[in-house]
């Protein structure tokens, strides 16, 4: 196959590209320049699109003896991921930009362009298994990235290769070291690549400005404080609420109402959610028959929750949770899995959380 390796400059995509070469594919490396500011330097483990990362990716490509190019996708990334991220927060939701990037950049803009240029597939260093068109969790549960890939549709998965899903992160680093890659010991990237200092609230404040509003306690209906912008809050959040409750019981964010800029907080007993409603779902391998017993994961690092999935009248999903959950934030994806201890939990699809009850 003619394969395009998306190379971030990190250890995962380096080893993924190497494995694609080993598998006998005709591999070309591409680094995606996503930041409009190319002079950005890495700060610690954050960020993924600096000049240094492009250099690291190029070094690996040269060692592998494959062609290497930099594709400038900064404009698309800014529109489809960064602006979307800001708009979602402004609307009181909590988006997942990595999922959006996979959906619109890596397996849309990049894959489309790769196909047009004559490539058969895009290989990435995501930790997830993809065998016979079926997407499953990585064998390394701690590094599993199937959550942010669940938004992909069958035609996108048909053009994807994830060679790392069957191995642990530890093994990936070992393989990088065995090959003498300079990135073998490079720190994992985490957080959001376009917010290199990790200060999401500060980033949003610069974009959206101060938008003060009330903090209301759901138990009493009383305004118990003010905030500088609803974008500083996520449903389920406990720390940093900036209010002192009358009693000693902890408070959680229950809801965000962007028009009146109201942040509603309440005690743990009010924070539990038994049913989740989503937008029209996407399915990784075609729509299953509903209703369905499955497991649902409600945020990137959340655990699976057994549930019953039904079709809602508006074409979305109504997901009934077996046990109530806290912190189900609108804007996050509800990702559905069919448990499979042997081959890895199968990713069925996802729907963006609209609301809860």
């Amino acid at each position: 196959m003619r394969v395009l390796a998306a190379m971030s400059g990190g250890v995962d995509s380096a080893v993924a590209a190497a494995l694609a070469v080993d598998a006998g594919h005709d591999v070309t490396g591409v680094h995606l320049a996503l930041s409009p500011d190319r002079r950005t330097l890495r700060s610690g483990a954050r960020g993924c699109c600096s000049v240094e990362d492009a250099h690291d990716a190029r070094r690996v490509a040269d060692e592998l003896g494959i062609p290497f190019y930099v594709w400038d996708l900064a404009e698309r990334f800014t529109e489809d991921v960064v602006d979307d991220f800001v708009a979602e927060y402004a609307a009181g939701r909590t988006p997942n930009p990595c999922l959006r990037c996979n959906e619109r950049i890596k397996f849309a803009a990049v894959l489309d362009r790769a196909r047009a240029l004559g490539f058969d597939a895009v290989v990435t260093g995501h930790h997830a298994r993809l065998v016979d068109g079926l997407l499953r969790r990585s064998v390394d549960a701690a590094k599993d990235q199937s959550y942010v890939l669940a938004v992909l549709r069958p035609d996108q998965l048909a053009g994807a290769l994830f060679p790392l899903g069957g191995m642990t992160k530890h093994r990936v680093r070992e393989m990088a070291a065995e090959r003498g890659f300079a990135v073998a010991a490079k720190a994992d990237s985490h957080d959001i690549c376009f917010i290199p200092d990790g200060d999401t609230r500060g980033f949003l404040a610069r974009r959206l400005g101060e938008q003060p509003g009330p903090v209301v306690d759901a138990g009493t209906g009383a305004t118990v404080g003010t905030h500088a912008g609803t974008y500083g809050f996520t449903v389920g959040q406990r720390r940093g609420l900036g209010v002192a409750a009358g009693d000693s019981r902890p408070r959680y964010v229950l809801g965000i109402e962007p028009v009146s800029r109201t942040v509603t907080i309440g005690t743990a007993d009010l924070a539990g959610v038994g049913e989740v409603r989503t937008a029209v779902p996407t399915w990784t391998a075609g729509a299953p028959e509903l209703p369905l017993r499955a497991e649902v994961q409600l945020r990137a690092h959340g655990g699976p929750v057994p549930c019953t999935v039904r079709c809602a009248p508006d074409g979305g999903l109504a997901i009934e949770l077996d046990t109530a959950q806290r912190g189900v934030a609108p804007g996050q994806s509800a990702v559905l899995y069919a448990p499979d201890a042997e081959r890895g939990d199968l990713v069925l699809g996802q729907g963006a959380v609209l609301g809860t009850s």
Binding site: V70, R113, L117
Partner: protein, 396 residues
Amino acid sequence: MTYLDHAATTPLLPEVLAAMTEQLGRVGNASSLHASGRAARRVAEQARERLAEALGARPSEVLFTGGGTEGDNLAVKGIFWARQEADSRRRRLVVSPAEHHAVLDSAEWLAKHAGADLTWVSVEPSGRVTPEALRAALGDGSDVAVASLMWANNEIGTVSDLAALAAVAHEVGVPLHTDAVQAVGQVPVDFGASGVDALTMTGHKLGGPMGAGVLLLRRDAECMPLLHGGGQERDVRSGTLDVAAIVGLQVATCLAVAGREERATRLRALRDRLVAGVVVQVPDAQLNGAPLDDELAGGPGRLPGNAHLSFPGAEGDALLMLLDARGVECSTGSACSAGVARPSHVLLATGADPDRARSSLRFSLGTTSTDADVDAALEVIGPVVERARRAGMNRR
């Protein structure tokens, strides 16, 4: 492999390799007083004399540098500083927006850090700077420190008439530097006859080694050094002479100059066939720069080996990648440090719109180019352009 990127760098000539290898085995610092030092100095000075002769300069006007970027930086900054020190009213720098980044970024650095005022000389749609445009930019010249205008453009291959430009600059007492990195060995370059005050050239564009170049600097031109130290090269460029590289540079330059006319005729025929063949397959391809048969006083108005074309609807970097995959090596003409393709600043300077500037490719032929190379490029260009057009990025 079809190498059509001689404007980026050229294969080392066998004669150069032999001459350099001979020197690399020897010991001797050309500044030392003992026998080994004298022997090294003799070789370096002989090279200096031969280079001067080939370029129409005096030996004392030849300053060895580390290449084109250094020569441009030294001339633009060094002459600016010297002229401003002599008269603090000389704050203006006159450059064209189509210059190489070694000149552009030096000028912008001076504007940011040394109080220079930049005056841009407008370029014609061909990329050429005319004497009239320079005259307009200079004004009465009393507040101008230095002007820098390239002899031949590295992207689109347009040649300007440096003798005419130098005459205009001297009318108002302004020294003129020229980046002749692409011109030497391609078009007639006579430093003395041109009248320019400083000229940058480099070895690896004409079959010599990388990291070796020359700044020709008129004996009466004032230039402050970038590098301070042992006082070599008229105190303008300190540093131990790299004798092997200097000999390689000299041998390459002399061969390039001696064989220029014959090679130019051959490359021009190959280049014209390449362009004609491309246009047959891609009828809406646009030639950038001066017409292929353009003539100036004293030589061709376009570098004989340069073909620079835009392919509307295709992106330069997609074309480059597809050609690379098919064994044809060329260039989009400009890339930043991270390798991100940007619209060519040269094309933008000529008034081209950003889409045209983004969809361009430079094929540059040189000593080793053959009919087979042209055939190889023509065999793939049609399908490659068609495919690249389907793969438009940043568009919906």
